[in-house]
Symmetry: C2
Subunit: 166 residues, 2 copies
């Protein structure tokens, strides 16, 4: 299992920075129980090794005028690898598409989209997505309201697993 190169202090650092990514290094050091310099060295190492991929402010989309959030299920005609890649590349180029995941089962991709209003989304849908090559089926579901939106990973579950396998 992965995550084994990490000791409990590293995991605590990751959990703390996932919860508050703008914490100062001295605050972080205090919370994980070591002094600041080694703490900073650990953070840098975690960034280098790719355990931390970045830091992001969590902005309120609705407050900013992005009232509409939509999940879109996409089926393709051809599932050849090159065609899958081509569709993924298009998704990366569409700013309204925030997430694109390839799925198993009847549908090929799920997209999470954000738009200022319904008509902006509709014109993206009809003008870009539905007319893109190889797109066979599209099913959209508007988000009525969000009930939970946690970033990252549940560290409690991780710690519980590690203590069981120890």
């Amino acid at each position: 299992m992965a995550g084994h190169r990490l000791d409990p202090i590293d995991r605590k650092i990751l959990a703390e920075l996932q919860a508050d990514g703008r914490m100062t290094n001295v605050e972080l050091a205090k919370r994980v129980g070591i002094s600041a310099p080694p703490c900073l060295r650990r953070v840098r190492a975690l960034e280098e090794q790719g355990f931390i991929k970045g830091y992001h402010a969590d902005v309120d989309a609705r407050e900013l005028g992005f009232e509409v959030q939509v999940f879109v299920m996409v089926g393709l005609q051809s599932q050849a690898e090159s065609d899958l890649r081509a569709f993924e590349g298009r998704c990366r180029d569409w700013p309204l598409v925030r997430e694109c995941h390839m799925l198993n089962g009847e549908v090929d991709f799920i997209l999470k989209c954000a738009a200022p209003d319904l008509s902006t989304f509709q014109s993206f849908l009809t003008g870009q997505l539905l007319t893109a090559p190889n797109v066979a089926s599209v099913k959209t579901s508007l988000v009525i309201r969000g009930a939970k939106d946690e970033p990252g990973v549940p560290f409690d579950v991780l710690e519980e697993r590690l203590s069981r396998s120890a």
Copy 2:
């Protein structure tokens, strides 16, 4: 339309902090073209007003041993408001459920789940989700691979809209 209390500098601050939430305030001030003290005041105000909901390190789930990501479509028997709320509350209590959104259309909720392996997810599915009150239908889709996962909101789209309506 919302976002109107924000001037171009505020929007630039949000865009920069969304891209790099751990940037120092002086670096941020330099990028948005003002000096550090007013920049910090603006950031604090944006936090107070709820435009910035938090800061999070983006940790690599796979590296940490969360190999499995699953989208789950849930239909309920009763869509009475109290029953919807009850289900949302349960989702908030389940650590493997990272996101829960209420949808329009045939399905009631979409969940995004993370788990260390398939058997952990299966036991959550059969032991928790399928046996929860009021759950009528559950359809799961494993994520084969992720193609795009951008946090937040496309600020280019926002700026383009504002310049058109100006």
